[in-house]
Subunit: 454 residues, 2 copies
């Protein structure tokens, strides 16, 4: 019985591996690493310097190396694989799960991938997976599944499972196919255990097996697995032939990936592989374009203000509060963008509710605007003692929050309808509107009562 080793323990192991490597005690270093669960092994390995990693790889052996590459980040795995010679790489790929091997091959230079594939013994398990785009069900699925004909008996099925190499994991579901290789049902191992040996698969299978097609977007495939509580989903081609299975670890990975993507895109970071430790050039590449776009919209807002420059010159107090109107409209809008983007991702919004949602959010924005506007109006009245200023500020807040609330729903839905990612540009587009409109509403209202504001 084990639990996750503490950070301190993992650091201790890295340190001991480091020492063993320094003293040339390769076997000790390998043993220290192998003693850990592969998930922790990967973390400890990542703590080592590139030279130490290289030294260790030389002594890991094919099986251990294959396992390490399966658990490492895709980029790091590709980096290590690039350093292997073709024969070594082919052996390692043969040991890996077919879907992991296919992913790795996809990350290598085409020439190296071609050569390795040519030398692989089990290339035929991997080759069919290479044709599918990364972000589709086909790109996620593995060919390591068990499919049996509908006429097979349970006894035959069990005999087949027993014939599988004991080192290979057996999936928890068997898929049943007809004489044309078409998927017709699913049987769980639990069902196998509970019935008599002579029963045929077609008698115990669940014919209502839920499937996805190979070209289904990975996010959609994950949504289906999550909706139907499936720990594995079979993938068929356009002739309904079973071509692979997506397993629950892929589901988890996609869910985490898509959540990261949405969180990053909502904050205008377009590269979901970035983290605070990523190299500078990547930070700039994933962030600058959106800051630039944002800057352009901010300069447009500056232009809006410039039309009121003469008014601000007469009542500089306006410069104090214009940003409050713009900013709170933006915040209200961001709240709605977040809710809308997430509801879209979880499949909770259907187009037919659009009008109802817009009306509700207009009302919510109005209510929030009244509550924020009256607080600000009152506070500023006590501070500056000018009723006109308070009224202008309060009314502008009401209008801009209502506008922000509507835009916060409308913009992501419009982007989605246009086939774009609703998360990525929504914030920028929406705040472009709430900034410019906020300044305009506040300053043009102020210009009507300018004499009272000086």
């Amino acid at each position: 019985m084990i639990t996750e080793p503490s950070l301190e323990y993992r650091e201790l192991v890295s340190e001991r591996i480091r020492q063993a490597l320094k003293m040339g005690q390769w076997q000790d270093a390998v043993a220290l690493l192998q003693h850990l669960h592969p998930a922790d092994r990967t973390e400890v390995f990542e703590e080592l310097s590139p030279e130490e990693q290289q030294a260790l790889i030389q002594h890991l052996g094919v099986e251990n190396l294959a396992e390490l590459l399966e658990w490492l980040d895709e980029e790091e795995a590709a980096e290590i694989a690039q350093g292997l010679d073709t024969a070594q790489l082919a052996d390692v790929l043969d040991e890996m799960d077919p879907d992991e091997a296919a992913d790795l091959l996809g990350d290598l230079r085409p020439e190296q991938a071609r050569q390795a594939l040519a030398e692989m013994e089990e290339a035929e398990e991997v080759r069919p997976l290479l044709g599918y785009p990364d972000e589709t069900a086909g790109g996620l699925m593995t060919t390591a599944y068990v499919a049996l004909p509908r006429s097979a008996t349970l006894e035959e099925a069990i005999a087949f499972l027993r014939s599988i190499d004991p080192d290979t994991d057996i999936p928890n579901y068997l898929y049943v196919i007809d004489e044309n290789q078409r998927l017709v049902g699913v049987v769980s191992l639990a069902d196998l255990l509970r019935t008599t040996p002579q029963t045929r698969l077609e008698e115990v299978m669940d014919p209502k097996v839920i499937y996805v097609t190979a070209d289904t977007d990975q996010e959609e495939a994950a949504r289906i697995m999550s909706k139907y509580d499936l720990s594995a989903v079979p993938v068929v081609d356009n002739r309904q032939h079973l071509v692979g299975v997506i397993t629950f670890d892929d589901l988890v990975e996609v869910l985490e990936e898509e959540a990261t993507e949405d969180i990053y895109h909502l904050a205008s970071v377009s590269d979901e592989d970035l983290d605070p430790e990523s190299p500078l050039p990547e930070q700039i590449k994933g962030r600058l374009p959106w800051l630039y776009l944002n800057t352009l919209t901010a300069l447009f807002a500056s232009w809006v203000i410039s039309n009121f420059e003469h008014i601000i010159a007469q009542a500089a107090v306006l410069a104090l509060f214009q940003s409050v109107v713009a900013g709170q409209g933006g915040n209200t809008a961001s709240q709605n963008v977040a809710m809308t983007v997430r509801s879209l991702a979880l499949g909770k919004i259907s187009p037919k509710n659009l009008l109802r949602i817009l009306v509700k959010q207009f009302l919510a924005g109005l209510a929030l605007g009244l509550l924020v506007g009256s607080m600000v109006g009152l506070g500023v009245y006590f501070w500056r003692g000018n009723l006109y200023l308070s009224l202008v500020l309060g009314s502008a807040l009401v209008a801009n929050l209502a506008l922000g609330a509507v835009m916060g729903v409308l913009v992501p839905l419009a982007l989605k309808a246009a086939g774009a990612d609703p998360a990525l540009a929504s914030s920028i587009l929406v705040t472009a509107v709430t900034d410019s409109a906020g300044f305009f509403i506040f300053l043009s209202l102020a210009s009507r009562v300018l004499d009272h504001l000086k």
Copy 2:
């Protein structure tokens, strides 16, 4: 073989159910609903009016109703359960999975829950689950697992599994316990199938079973399952006794819940059950407090500007660009907040990297500041033709973006270290700093060259 029915089809079914109900053809209505997968059944059911739902519930029967409540949203399930009488409710709870029954009981009035529990036949399966807080491993786990003594043979294990009611799902893993009920290993059904009948469980079990304790936070439990690729994880109490199992559907639910929570909290929405269609009072309750807090920080920024009011009165042009400095600092900070919060959630940041991250993000902020600052400086020079204005604006942007980048990492990490949720208040705290500092830096630089700006 089935796939997800289209929206149109589901609407067609709702319509036909509606008609059947209207004509009093209860059996037809129930049959139409039961024909669907439970996941779709729930969606169709939700489309019906409260009166139609009520009429249908009367005729569903205990088993169907139990299944419906398992698949419905917690809140809707609780609403329906509240309308049942005690005997009915007890029967339905008996039919439900123990963890679902416990969740439902937790959502009812204590008095109703107590009475229903007293009338349940399988109360002893549910009672142990009621003591654990909702957001812990104990709150997620089910008692519907199979645990066998280490001395049991495979033959005995299979005989035991066959004795389980055929309507009950058998989990894919058996847990092995010692004479003191302590968890000592795990055996998969696949392992059972592959070994000889006389082998004892302790010979084939994996003793390195990964577990969590009942008081582990649900997010942490989900992280462990995800890290180690576990489709189920056993839960033990503080004496290492096996008390439950968390299954993969709970993992998926937690991952989605936690992602929603982070996305909402980053946008200052504190109620993760909100969506654009939620009732107005809930919208206001989940959003207003954060808008108010934000307003307070915005008014503080107004106060910062008020110290430069006399300068703005002399050079109103400053009011055009002050928000650009504040806003772009805020955007840079938000990018870092998103990356930091996500890296924390995925367990990718360790405290010992803090200094390295801060230095890297300071440099990234500086670089982004130089790139944004020079673009804005240049653009504004062409627009207004004032070199001093451009230089002040550009330098203020460099300073504020560097500050924003550092704060965007520091604030969520500080909140996390203080035991708070790094997602929730980070945006507000960080933009409070970048707004106030942005205005201050820009306006105080401007005051030094005021004569050139008039």
